[in-house]
């Protein structure tokens, strides 16, 4: 008896490397006489690695500024310093939102032991961290018996119960500690700065609250740094393996990242869900009402990857590969990406007001338009994959 020509799934890497080529029966990659990817994709793949690294570095810089602000505030809590800390948090969110285009293919951010969950998980178990309405003694902050010390090690451990995640770290934990619960129909949370004024202030355990805030900031910086290091041009282990992949596989991962973010995650999870449920706080940055910016930055991140663009710098991008093979398709996707961004900007803020009302309400119509624009571009990203002969399984 013949041994199978190939043992199924000898390794995941192998499986995913060939997955894209499995189903292309009779449909060889359409190249329109253009070069194979192996010839013109390597510079694009290298530029992508630089884009990823540069984007994480930016997120790290802003988070370091945030931490400096938090330290100043906790050392001497005042209204002005509290406001400055909130501003710093808002600034730190922007670059991170753009890095989410690098998720969804098991890279350093979200492979089996990637820190994505500690960095950006949501929804928050508010009562697991601090007091909530009607529960003044809730949370780790108010439980010195069980948690005598609060530092980055202890809160990291709390997020790692086997098979269970208590969400008590990351951007949204810091956000909750800066804004407090958002129980307002028309505005962000209203936590008073005096929650941090030791002995004299509001709520109990002000000193422990400050310790928690600083620990969450430190852990966030550590986690971002560990991801960034994997992509470093010098000595980044994942980067080295990524640029050494077969070009079809590297391009597949790049497209899987932006396609998954564009469709299932952003249009679906982050917008359609809130649109459908009309739940005011079913949004990522619910305490600060910053969700409109989260959405916009995700869309900009997708566009950055496609164009190979960071800020004002235009590097080789997927767009160049598409244009060489099908200029009309490239023009269409560029237009759709710009339209999505415009549609998202048109929603205005705060997002949690826009989703309310009946389906004829202008806010809801704008949200729906943006969702549809994102889903349209997702389908086009899938067309781009097919152009390269790559099978992408993304939810359009």
């Amino acid at each position: 008896m013949t041994k199978p020509t190939k043992r199924t799934l000898q390794s995941v890497a192998l499986a995913s490397a060939v997955a894209g080529l499995l189903t292309g029966c009779g449909s060889d990659p359409v190249t329109n006489g253009a070069k194979p990817l192996s010839e013109d994709a390597p510079p694009v793949i290298a530029a992508y690695a630089n884009l990823v690294h540069g984007s994480y570095v930016e997120a790290i810089d802003e988070t370091a500024s945030l931490n400096a602000s938090l330290a100043q505030f906790v050392a001497e809590p005042t209204e002005a310093r509290f406001k400055a800390a909130r501003e710093a948090w808002l600034l730190a969110r922007d670059p991170y939102g753009q890095t989410e285009a690098f998720r969804f293919y098991g890279g350093p951010i979200d492979d089996d032991d990637g820190p994505e969950g500690r960095i950006n998980a949501w929804p928050m178990d508010e009562a697991h961290v601090d007091y909530v309405a009607g529960e003044p003694g809730a949370g780790i902050i108010n439980d010195a018996m069980t948690y005598p010390t609060i530092d980055e090690t202890t809160i990291a451990e709390l997020n790692e119960n086997p098979g269970e995640k208590d969400i008590s770290t990351g951007y949204h934990a810091i956000e909750f500690l800066l804004w407090g619960q958002d129980t307002n129909a028309d505005g962000p949370g209203q936590r008073p700065y005096t929650d941090y004024v030791v002995d004299m202030g509001t709520a109990a355990n002000q000193e422990r609250r400050g310790q928690y805030l600083l620990a969450a900031g430190k852990l966030l910086l550590q986690d971002l740094s560990s991801v960034s290091a994997e992509w470093a041009p010098e000595g980044g282990a994942y980067r080295a393996s990524f640029v050494a992949l077969a070009p079809e596989e590297a391009v597949r991962r790049i497209l899987l990242g932006i396609g998954s973010l564009s469709g299932a995650e952003l249009a679906g999870e982050r917008m359609q869900v809130a649109y459908d449920t009309k739940e005011q706080e079913d949004e990522h940055s619910c305490f600060s009402d910053n969700t409109h910016k989260d959405i916009l930055n995700n869309a900009l991140g997708i566009q950055n990857v496609y164009l190979g663009r960071r800020g004002q710098v235009d590097l080789p991008g997927i767009d160049d590969l598409v244009r060489a093979r099908d200029a009309a398709l490239d023009a269409r996707l560029q237009k759709e990406m710009q339209e999505s961004i415009e549609a998202i900007k048109a929603i205005g803020e705060p997002f949690d007001q826009a989703i309310l009302g009946d389906d004829t309400a202008p806010g809801r119509q704008k949200v729906k338009t943006a969702i549809e624009a994102l889903r349209k571009q997702t389908a086009t990203i899938n067309e781009v994959a097919k152009l390269f002969g790559i099978q992408l399984n993304i939810e359009e």
Binding site: K6, T23, P123, D125, D282, E395
Partner: protein
């Protein structure tokens, strides 16, 4: 890794027209790789269980997105800013569906005997039945052990599993070892009633469930043979269970003992028992009369999951696609398939069904599917028995487990722990645990030459 040689292989395998003539006789049936008919997704990555039916329209996919969100994300303690997602507990096993159905896949018992069970839960009952003929809950702990609780409520305690190795060997001398599970419960609310019946249940894979709901009742019942009238040693009985929506007994299809009639009820039951989330089907929190702290805990609304959210999560659970098979034309796989059928495995693991019309689900209607289950209960013998009746299922009966997608379990969930409690480490051990009605097939498997046993495993890996 040098993989560039493989595309050539695939083009050959994937395109019937180019396939070389087979030397070993049988060839793949047309469309055999499409386990879920037109819903089938071609994916061999970690996401293989997490994609929607491929023939679903974009408009309908919105509900899939919403359902996915409420399946995947944590429920949080009430009261919370995130009102639509609060109401966790008071008692619960997990904070989200995906805690146990990780990547829409299958749970597993821990390897470490000191680590508590998470994605395997323990059903509890006492002898006798409830008002509808179902299991009678244990008076203090209720129908399942819930190891977690919100602050201010006492959890019910943890369960642990240790194993006793039972060595054995094939007639040709090759050895194996089966691990027999031994459960211990560190009960936190006092002793359970003497004679409490306990049954472990692994969180099953979520794929293709709607297709199984779309199979007509007649097609399932036609295969029943309760008295083994045809004398092949295989009976097969349907479970009939209480449908809370209809308020009547209905055919059971889902769960390890086919104790749930519909995916809507399965979903609402899991929300209720596993996460502590009330829905229109189960409006009161899962607290027993002995649990005053549980009854007094704050709730996240009445019900906690709105009709829309319940509906969308049920929609999501109904429309997760089945991944396509791999290597269907591979000679080794075809040999394994031949043995699978010749040993009689297919008598219960029915290879093919045609779905009927499923109201509200055009993508699941009129499909040719290959689930490898008959959805019926079979006596699987002493060694697998949990001795805990569940509606019409007795303590030795289990529903035939669907096998589609099972070859991707290791990729998605990183393990191959099979059967209702994850005791079997891989396909061979799973086959060797089969007793009762499957004893003849098991013995025939044991008697196969080693390379044919391997071929059978290749066939299972191709599913």
């Amino acid at each position: 890794m040098r993989w560039l040689v493989f595309p050539v292989v695939f083009v050959v395998v994937g395109c019937g027209a180019d396939a070389p003539p087979e030397e070993t006789g049988p060839s793949a049936e047309p469309g055999e790789e499409l386990s879920g008919g037109e819903t089938t997704v071609h994916d061999t990555s970690k996401n293989a269980y997490s994609l929607s039916a491929r023939n679903m329209t974009a408009e309908r996919r919105s509900a899939f997105f919403v359902g996915n969100s409420f399946f995947k994300e944590n429920w949080v303690i009430a009261p919370s800013s995130t009102e639509g997602r609060d109401g966790l507990g008071p008692l619960f096993n997990a904070r989200s569906c995906s805690s146990c159905h990780l990547l829409d896949g299958r749970g597993s018992p821990p390897d470490d005997p000191a680590e508590p069970l998470v994605s395997v839960l323990l059903r509890l009952s006492i002898p006798g039945t409830d008002a509808h003929g179902g299991p009678a809950p244990e008076p203090t702990y209720g129908g399942q052990l819930q190891p977690r609780a919100i602050p201010g409520v006492l959890p019910e305690g943890d369960a642990f599993v240790a194993y006793e190795e039972m060595p054995g060997s094939f007639p040709d001398g090759e050895t194996y070892s089966l691990r027999k599970p031994i459960y211990t419960i560190a009960a936190a609310r006092g002793d359970m009633q003497p004679g409490t019946l306990i049954s472990p249940r692994v969180a099953p894979v979520m794929i293709g469930l709607g297709l199984l709901e779309a199979v007509s009742e007649e097609d399932i019942l036609r295969a029943e043979d309760p008295d083994d009238a045809d004398g092949d040693g295989i009976s097969g009985r349907a479970n009939h269970v209480w449908d809370v929506v209809r308020g009547a007994a209905s055919l059971g299809r889902f769960g390890w003992k086919a104790n749930q009639p519909t995916l809507m009820q399965q979903t609402a039951g899991a929300f209720h028992g596993d996460i502590g989330i009330t829905t229109s089907l189960f409006m009161t929190e899962d607290c027993t009369d002995a649990q005053a702290d549980c009854k007094a805990a704050p709730t996240g609304g009445t019900p906690e999951a709105s009709e829309k959210i319940l509906g969308d999560v049920a929609f999501y659970s109904t429309t997760l696609a089945v991944p396509a098979r791999r290597d269907v034309a591979d000679p080794g796989v075809l040999t394994g398939k031949r043995h699978f059928l010749e040993l009689g495995c297919g008598k219960c693991h029915t290879p093919v069904f045609h779905t009927g019309t499923f109201d509200g689900y055009p993508e699941l209607s009129g499909q040719t599917i290959r689930p490898f289950t008959d959805l019926l209960l079979h006596d699987m013998g002493e060694a697998l028995a949990d001795e805990r009746p569940d509606f019409k299922a007795d303590g030795r009966e289990w529903r035939t487990a669907p096998l589609w997608g099972i070859g991707l379990l290791r990729v998605v969930n990183g393990h191959e722990n099979l059967l209702h409690d994850g005791r079997a480490r891989g396909f061979v051990e799973a086959v060797l645990w089969h007793g009762g009605e499957a004893e003849g097939s098991r013995e025939a498997f044991r008697a196969l030459p080693a390379e044919d046993r391997r071929a059978l495993v290749w066939f299972l890996e191709s599913l």
